[in-house]
Structure formats: C-alpha cells, structure tokens
Symmetry: C2
Subunit: 432 residues, 2 copies
C-alpha cells in the first residue's frame, strides 16, 4: 500500500478539492481524505496538489524524434514533404527510440495514459510495444491502416499506403499478441480519407474485439469540402455511413466539423497542433454544448512541439475565450475534465478521477512560486501549471516517477542515444 | 570573470547559433565562441542552450498575489469588481510581498528585465523598489498616473484615481530617489483613458528625464469606439494628439488598434492575457509588416496567470498562425526577437543579444527529453521550452540563479509568507 500524505486533493467527478491523503492498495485507490491506516510507503504531499493522471487521446509515438523538423509549413506539405518521407526511412531501432523519448516526456509531465494514432510496420511495432510495457505507462497502440494515397484533394506521399486486407490481418495479429499485456491495449487506427470499406471493417472489428478505434477527422477545411464533393455528405453523415459514429470511436482534431449535432463519437481536440499548423481553432464550446465528449491530445513533436498536456489544457481553455471574445467560456474546470474524466470515458478506462475503487493513476504537482497562492486548484492546474511541475506519477498503483525522477527509463542514456541517432542528418539533408 | 562553457549559443541580432562559450567580464559580455582565457568561475553548459535573458515589457508587480482571484470574467468587471478593489486594500507589506513573488517567478523563468505598468502609492513603492534592488533584476518601476474614473464607456472603481498634479509630483520624486539605483530605472506610467492633458505632460516629462513612458492602449474593442466618440480620432491620431506616438512610449495590448500605419510607439503584445480575458488576438503580423517594434508582456497573475515569457513567446507565434490560418507567419525566430532584441530597443537597454560589449544579461536552458533533439534552437526555445527549463540566470554580470536556485531571494520563506498573508481571505470574502 502507498499513501500520498497530506496534500490538496483535486478529485474531479463533481467533487470539491479537499485537504487530505490518498491511500492506494494494489492498482486501485482505496481511501481518500483522512486516512489512518499504517502503510509501508509514504509520499509527503504537504506542498503538493494530488490529482488524476492526465489522459492524452491523440499522440504519435514515432514523431518524437522529428521535433523541430517541420515547423511553419502547412499540413499537406508537412505530411508530404517532411513527416511521411522522414518516417518512411525509420527502422525498428529508430521507432523504439522515438517511442521511448515520447513516453519519457509524457510520464515526466504527468500523462499516465495515451491513445496512439497508428504505427506503421516499419517502425517495429513489437519493439515499440516492449518500450510501452517496460515504461509502466498505460496506452493504446495500433497498426496504422491507410489504403488510399489521397488526402483531401491532394495526392500524397505513397510510401505509407498498404493493401487493406494485409494491413487488417496485421492489426488483428497485433491485437492478439499485445492486448492486455502490462498497461497495453490495442486499438484500431486509420488515417483520414481511407475508403469507406476500410472504415466499415474497422468499426465492425472494434465491436468484435471490444476495443476502440481512432482516426484523424476534419483537421483542415479541405477535408470537409472533400467529403462533400466525393460522397455528397456532411462530416457526421459520412461517419454514420461508415459506421464510425459511436462511442468506441475517437476522432482527432474536428477543427472544421461544423455542426456537431448528432455526433456520438468522441473528439480528441488538439489545440496546440491545430494552432501551429494554422489549421484553425476548433469550435469546442459548441461541441460541449451539444453534449459531445471532447477530450485532449498533444498530437506530435513536429507540430505541437511537445507532449505536455498541461500546455494543451491551458490553450484549450483560453483559445475558446479568444475565439468567442468571451472569457466566461470553457473555464479551468472544463479543461481539466477534458484531460481526465472525458479522456477516461473515450478510452474506456476506469480512471480519470480520485475516488475509492478507481484505478490508481495519480500524479502530484509541486507548489512553486508561479503556482502560489492557490485559490481554486483547478485554476492553478490549468492556468498556471506546466508539465515540469509534476513531481510524482503513479500508474496502476506503481510509482513510476518519484520526485521528478523517472524510474523505468534511464533518461540520461536515452538523451545520449537521441543525440547520437535522433538528428537523422542524412535523411534531413535529403528533404530539408 | 565568468565563463559559460561549451554550450549551444543563440546570439540573436542576425547571427546564427554556434557551439562555444561566453566570457563575461564585469557587467558586459567580453567574448563569444572559442574562449581560451582562464577564469575563476565556470558554468558547465555542455547540455545547455545559452541565450539572452528575456525582456518583459508589460507586467504588474502588485498583481502576483491576486493569482486565480479573477478568472473567467470580462476585463471591465475584472478590474472593477476584483483587481482594483482588492488592490485598494493593499498595504506596503502586501505590495512588497507581491513584488517579491512576481520577481522570484520571473527570475526563475528566465526574465532578466521588466517594465512595470504603474504602481499605486498605497502599495509602498519604496518598499517595492528595495525588493527589486535586492533581487538583482533589471527593471523599470513607476508611479501609476490615473486622473479619470472612466474606462472606455464605463464608470470605474474610483479608489485608484488621484489628482493629476499631486501624482505627477510623486512620480518625479520617485524618479529622483530611485532612477539608476542598482538595476532600477524609473519610467512614467499611465492607465488607459486618462485626460489628454496628463498624457501630454507624461510625454514631455519622459523627454526631459530621458526615460520611457508606458500605458494600456486599445485592449478591448470599446477602447477604440470610446476614442472615436470622445475625440473623433483613430487610435494613432489620438496618440499623436497627446504626444505619445514616439519611441519612448510602450503601449500595452493594442488588440484593437486597427491599422498600425504611422505608429512609432512600441507595442507590448500580451497574448496570454488577451486570450484569457477574451479581449481577442492582436494583429501582430500586420504590425510587424508595418515596421512596428512589437515586444512581449506577461501582464499579471490574475489574467495570464503566470509571469513565464516562454509561454507568451509560444502563444504569440501560434496565435497568429491560427488567426490567419497560415502556419508560415510569425515563426520561432520572430517570437524570440520580440522577447529579446525588440524588448531591449523599447526599454533603451543595451541587452537582448549575446555579443562582445553587450550587457551580460544571459540565461541558460537545460536540455531535457521534451527539448530533444535540437535542430533549430530558436524552435526549441519557442515551441518546446518552458520557463521551468531555465537553469542559470545572469543579470548585469552577476549569477542570480544557478542550477535553478535563486540566490537573492529565500524562496522557501517567501512561499510561507505568501501562504500566510497572500490569500487575503477577508478581502476576498467581501468581493467574491
């Protein structure tokens, strides 16, 4: 048993912040508040906030190594001239290295669960799965399904496109090998603008396997005109047409979705990525008003350029205020709910709040000058805190980060390897 | 002499990043690059970026204690119902405490120079000046000049309004007492919508004293319609009318300035504050295109809610990309220039770049997983780094922060005092 002792607890799920302790037994939370039980391991939380681990519903593990290699260019060129050609040169060693860098960053900044957006075979998916397993993190991985070289109205770099049936077979085999191993679950993942046939198969397979599915959707304006032109449908109609409009599905971006009426799929809002790529500001306030389950994603290092969900929580909140010229919309509590409760719901994981019986995915934040004084701790977390304020991270009842030290990855060795291998100089020279 | 040894130097001022060392002699930079001289004090920079200290051209020292006390409400209510009434209850002890909290945060996040936006007498300006002097930071303080209770079309809380002549006398006396003491300079500062007479006096006095002036300007839409209605002038015409359209003047906000043609005053762009207060997104790209000297400001803890200029650099860049749906505008280098070179120009201080002869205001950034790999270090700094990545801070040749430890302020004692005094519970109960 582990005791997080005497902190300021932000429980979420409709309950108010309280001073007290959190008792963890095995991989579940046992007690919250005044805890009298004797335990072996204690973490002193007297100057800390105790809160649920953050849930990132849209990340690319294999993009961490591409940080800073595709700044300040539009999405289609970003994919076509930089990210896809560079990733097409990956081998399993680079794939694993990128995943480890990404996971180290996420854990050190308080993310305890992720939904990967789809991995290509050449990244070495088994190697990446082993990295996730060793890290102690909770996450969905998947084989990227991509059966069309067209993206919106553009012909794209074809190196990542594969035969639909072969790819589905591989996705299934990945599920059988890895789903349920350690913190790993296996999802189904597709790129934007696959064929409706593939989307339908994905939808049915997610149901059969009792897992979730994810795809990029309506990220840029042209995505919507493409659906209109190609299928004569609105985005929500197209989702219905492909069997994707249901709670097992998480749609990344949805900047240009338009009217969200009738949308049952979850949305992974990625504000930092959408801002930096000039994609726009998603109408999150309106989606929430229509009852859509909006969650948060950091996307990738070449677009965000970090995997720090604290920064995306903050931006998610203030972006709506600036867009609508109304400071009253999407407050800190709403943003925090998106990154915890809503994320847990989309990913069908029993976490996202601090209450007896919940999975013990818990983090603490150190109170430093820039976080003081604390009035409403939700405000402190969303409007002032950064990933680097995270002090301790517990996933599935295990202490993975203690006092800012990551226990499952040798960060110094990782950094050396990133410096040695990660700059991909020959490959970059070719493309940049 | 101090040597910052073997880092990745981002010199700014048109020069490319280089690997090498920075030699500091007294309060000036002596050499940059390969340094062979023997020195007494060395800072190992092998895994660090060495860059100019950041310059914040719009902050409120007395608002740090009000962090989180005015979230999610519009500017006029924010001022009228929260910030001004709460600040009107300050005494010199609270004024100094707030300034110390603000300065600790700025120094720990790499800001080496600030322009305060105007202090009211009851905050105890001499006490605040002593806090600045002891901290080793470089900064402009000033007596707030405010001779009208009207703000845009609203009648405001009157507790802060003072007689013009009395206030000007006090501003002059402050200048005589403190200008040039330690890192302190004294500026002239006015609120938005003072009388043109006061603005004109300020302009003349800034010239006479060879100092700078600052005011809030065109922060919300109503500011512009007020100028039109009251004076029949556009914002730039009004500045001309009041003698404020010159290089000694820094205008905070300018969200609704409109056409910047002919603007000679500097702009302190405050994106985080403008977003969170729902004021809007300033047309910074267009201002830069017209040759306006745009700088960056964090504003205050009740609106930002931090004093971390790294966050505002990032937001300044991505906000323009999202506003114009164009990822190519305002890149990392532009944002970094705003927070260094442009800031130094506005504040008439010989810093903002790393070159022989410049003032030794230099910071280092630790390369951690979320900053790796480094391709263009400007991208690393603006798109990935946070204030908490700052490792060492040198101001005027003195090491003020070393390996994240602030040497001039006892942070632990400060935090205890903020916890004890800073929550202002009675005062809050009255207003919230």
């Amino acid at each position: 048993m582990i005791l997080l002792k005497d902190g300021l607890i932000v429980p979420m799920a409709g309950r108010r912040a309280v001073k007290g302790s959190v008792l963890i037994d095995g991989n579940r939370i046992k007690e919250v508040g005044e805890v009298k039980e004797k335990v072996d391991a204690e973490i002193d939380c007297r100057h800390k906030i105790i809160m649920p681990g953050l849930i990132d519903t849209h990340i690319h593990l294999a993009q961490a190594l591409l940080r800073g290699c595709a700044d300040d260019i539009p999405l289609v060129r970003w994919l076509n001239e930089r990210v896809w050609p560079l990733q097409s040169t990956y081998d399993p060693e680079l794939g694993s290295l990128s995943a480890e860098l990404c996971i180290a960053e996420m854990l050190l900044s308080g993310t305890t669960t992720f939904l990967e957006s789809g991995l290509h075979t050449k990244y070495g998916i088994d190697g990446i799965a082993r990295v996730v397993e060793r890290s102690g993190m909770r996450g969905y991985i998947s084989k990227m399904l991509m059966d069309s070289p067209y993206y919106a109205n553009h012909r794209m770099y074809e190196g990542m496109v594969e035969d639909k049936d072969e790819a589905m077979k591989e996705a299934l085999s990945l599920f059988e090998r890895w789903n349920g191993k350690g913190g790993i679950r296996v999802a189904l993942a597709a790129r934007t603008h696959c064929t409706p046939e593939l989307y339908r198969e994905i939808s049915e397979m997610a149901e059969t396997l009792d897992t979730i599915a994810t795809l990029h959707f309506c990220e840029i304006k042209e995505d919507v005109s493409f659906l209109r032109k190609e299928y004569g449908m609105s985005p929500v109609e197209f989702l219905e047409h492909c069997g994707l409009n249901n709670e097992r599905v998480t749609l990344a971006h949805c900047v240009w979705l338009g009217d969200a009426e009738g949308l049952k799929a979850n949305v992974a809002h990625c504000p930092a990525s959408n801002f930096k790529l000039g994609s726009g500001i998603a109408p999150v306030k309106e989606m929430l008003d229509k009852g859509v389950n909006v969650t948060l994603g950091c996307d990738g290092a070449p677009c965000n350029n970090t995997y720090d969900l604290f920064r995306d929580m903050w931006l998610a909140s203030i972006a709506q205020k600036a867009r609508l010229l109304d400071p009253q919309v999407l407050d800190a509590h709403n943003a925090l709910t998106m990154a915890t409760i809503n994320g847990a719901k989309a990913l069908r994981i029993d976490s996202g709040s601090i209450a007896p019986g919940k999975l013990a995915d818990v983090i603490t934040i150190d109170l430093k000058p820039h976080l003081m004084p604390v009035r409403d701790p939700a405000s402190t977390i969303v409007y002032s805190a950064k990933g680097s304020d995270v002090c301790d991270v517990i996933v599935d009842g295990k202490v993975i980060v203690e006092n800012r030290e990551l226990k499952t990855i040798d960060v110094s060795k990782l950094m050396d390897r990133v410096e040695e291998k990660g700059l991909l100089p020959d490959r970059l020279a070719h493309f940049l």
